[in-house]
Assembly symmetry: C2
Homo-oligomer: 201 residues x 2
């Protein structure tokens, strides 16, 4: 019996996934959490074989939590599950020690199959997404460029960002200009959109 821990912030999706997985004779959902911060403690308590973790969660994101889980409890296999098949997410998931990466577009049988494979020690990655990930390449954004882009993505002006990050307006413009160049965008708003859609923020 493969013991599964479910982490997803949307109760409806989480419950539905649990129902589906429990239909499989060799799978058992032994815990459900709605926040990334609860993953570690729950994992210590219930000793799951596999943790199915969503990327998008309030507070700490799933990838960060996955990295911590893998560092402290390496015996637990991690399957990262996400709505958005962003290349950057895949790269970060694998770097975090995940054994598999599943997009929510995939057929249900694929997820079940993935959990079984992962439990037997294999790594599972969607080939199409892997290709896209390699094609788009890793982000060349510097940490500071990420900071200003993240702020810009919320619609903040140069002045707002400068105040938020305690920088001069000129510096913010420089970082934004660099980010615009690297993303191939023509405005900071477009650069933020591109970086976000690649999972770089």
């Amino acid at each position: 019996m493969i013991r599964v821990l479910l982490a997803d912030d949307q109760a409806l999706v989480r419950g539905a996934l649990a129902a589906m997985l429990n239909l499989e004779a060799d799978l058992s959902v032994v815990a459900e959490v709605s926040q990334a911060s609860e993953i570690l403690g729950t994992a210590r308590a219930v000793h799951p074989d596999v943790a199915l973790i969503d990327v998008q969660m309030p507070g700490v994101d799933g990838l960060t939590a996955a990295a911590e889980l893998h560092r402290l409890l390496p015996a637990i296999r991690i399957v990262i599950c996400t709505t958005f098949g962003r290349p950057g997410y895949l790269a970060r998931a694998m770097a975090a020690g995940a054994s598999a990466f599943v997009v929510k577009d995939a057929p249900p049988a694929y997820l079940v199959d993935t959990i079984r494979r992962v439990h037997s020690g294999l790594r599972v990655v969607d080939p199409g997404l892997a290709a896209e990930s390699l094609a788009s390449g890793a982000s060349t954004l510097t940490p500071r460029e990420r900071d200003v882009l993240s702020a810009a993505a919320t619609g903040a002006t140069v002045g707002d960002i400068a105040r938020q990050l305690h920088l001069s307006a000129g510096t913010v413009r420089n970082h934004l200009s660099a980010a615009i160049g690297k993303t191939g965008a023509r405005t900071s708003a477009e650069a933020a959109r591109i970086a976000d859609s690649n999972g770089w923020l």
Copy 2:
């Protein structure tokens, strides 16, 4: 036995929801579709009692499809289901003839309960979301303002938008300026973000 039609673009979520609903003795998922454009034809073929429709779908969105379904097959009760509890979505869903509006944060039992209530002729709306919807009020954006904001949301510049909509740059600036005023934003990027988060686009 309540016959349910499921419409959600994410195969994993769709399959999981189907598994969960089929566990209920009085519910039966009789059809699953992944695109809004397939809803009407499938509904005609299988005669469901209730249609559970996600807002976010590629191509035609769920709300538009729901309106059409309700117009042509008014006997079918419609439950709108969405990840984002945006006030505008609720308003548009009710205007489209939906009988219920469920956020994916809700507990699984709530969805099952909602389907039963809807089938018996009741309308079900999350009280918190209804309050928020009334508080934020309806969009006062004109159709043209929505157009330019939608384009701006993708990171397009004033010039880009002008070419896309076959307008002069000055006109685009006027519409954007009006939208900025109505949303209380300070830049077009922020206005687009606000309008989107309210479900006005």
